[in-house]
């Protein structure tokens, strides 16, 4: 979904939301959020490795988009939404680092409770053949771990380009960096993932 053209800019005029226009905008926003929410959740889940935390992050991003940017032109919503979400994920990682440092200082360590429970977080099988299901699930798990272990900016670039389907310009807008940086991060991410997943792929 290349929702954003290369001429994306945040300088579009805001629209006033009154009456029928407001209702129409609400419907459009509802449709937009319904389209992106599931992919956004999975991307956040891969980044933080916790579904509940990911749900909170996605909900915060949806609320911030509605509160602050609903009046923006629709084509800006995708990069804005993912920019908000990625900022939330970055903040989450920062808090986790601080939290882990404090826990280590108090002698409780950072491992144990925070370990990602693959079984608990496994998606619903939905009636597929068990063998295929297990194989697909395992491959996805390896991919998730490898993506999670990427440096933050590479992870963002890879997920936005590959999973959300944003073009380079849209990804740059969402990541607030140059298109050149997006290309570099993305290329390095693909290289690293292919190296790490070679045996599972």
């Amino acid at each position: 979904m290349n929702a954003v053209s290369s001429v994306f800019a945040v300088s579009w005029p805001r629209e006033d939301l009154t009456g029928a226009k407001a209702l129409q905008r609400e419907r459009q926003l509802n449709q937009f959020l319904a389209e992106v929410e599931r992919r956004a959740l999975r991307m956040a889940e891969i980044a933080v490795r916790d579904r509940d935390e990911a749900l909170d992050l996605v909900q915060d991003a949806m609320i911030k988009l509605a509160r602050n940017y609903a009046a923006r032109p629709q084509q800006e919503w995708t990069p804005l939404f993912y920019r908000i979400l990625q900022n939330g994920i970055r903040d989450w990682h920062r808090h986790q680092k601080v939290r882990n440092r404090v826990m280590v200082w108090f002698g409780r360590g950072g491992s144990g409770d925070d370990e990602y429970d693959v079984v608990a977080n496994a998606p619903d099988p939905a009636g597929r053949a068990p063998v295929d299901e297990v194989q697909t699930h395992e491959t996805m798990q390896h991919l998730e771990v490898a993506i999670h272990d990427l440096p933050g900016r590479q992870r963002e670039a890879f997920m936005l380009r590959t999973f959300e389907g944003l073009d380079v310009a849209g990804t740059a807008a969402a990541m607030r960096c140059s298109e050149g940086s997006v290309k570099t991060h993305y290329s390095r991410a693909v290289h690293t993932l292919r190296e790490q997943l070679g045996e599972h792929w």
Binding site: L41, R42, I63, P123, T162
Partner: protein, 123 residues
């Protein structure tokens, strides 16, 4: 690792796996997403863009200026009030001239009593 074809294949497979995992999200998770979305949409009713508030700034400025002007025009004229006695008043009384007045007062009192005595002698 310059293998564009392999990279594309890898990316395509990764996307397939990801899409598959998205499709298999459980009902409870989808329900929570739905709730979150409606919470976000509820924000639309309460959120007022800053520009909507800013448009009232000139009107508010003019109204404030008008109120100040009315207050200034209707302000009561300053009234003359009795000034309190100050130390300078006592200084005036204690000046040399004032002491002379007190001495004269003694003289006038003596003069008046002398006049009365003379009248008595005449009568």
């Amino acid at each position: 690792m310059k293998e564009p074809g392999k990279n594309e294949e890898f990316v395509s497979q990764a996307r397939e796996l990801f899409d598959d995992s998205v499709e298999r999200l459980d009902a409870a998770t989808l329900s929570r997403l739905n709730q979150g979305r409606h919470r976000a949409l509820a924000e639309l009713e309460t959120a007022k863009p800053l520009s909507q508030w800013l448009r009232w700034v000139p009107a508010a400025g003019i109204a404030a200026a008008a109120v100040v002007a009315v207050m200034v025009m209707n302000a009561p004229a300053p009234t003359v009030t009795d000034e309190p006695i100050t130390a300078s008043d006592f200084e005036m009384l204690l000046e040399d001239d004032s002491l002379e007045l007190f001495e004269d007062l003694e003289f006038y009192t003596w003069l008046q009593s002398a006049d009365l005595a003379a009248n008595d002698n005449v009568g």
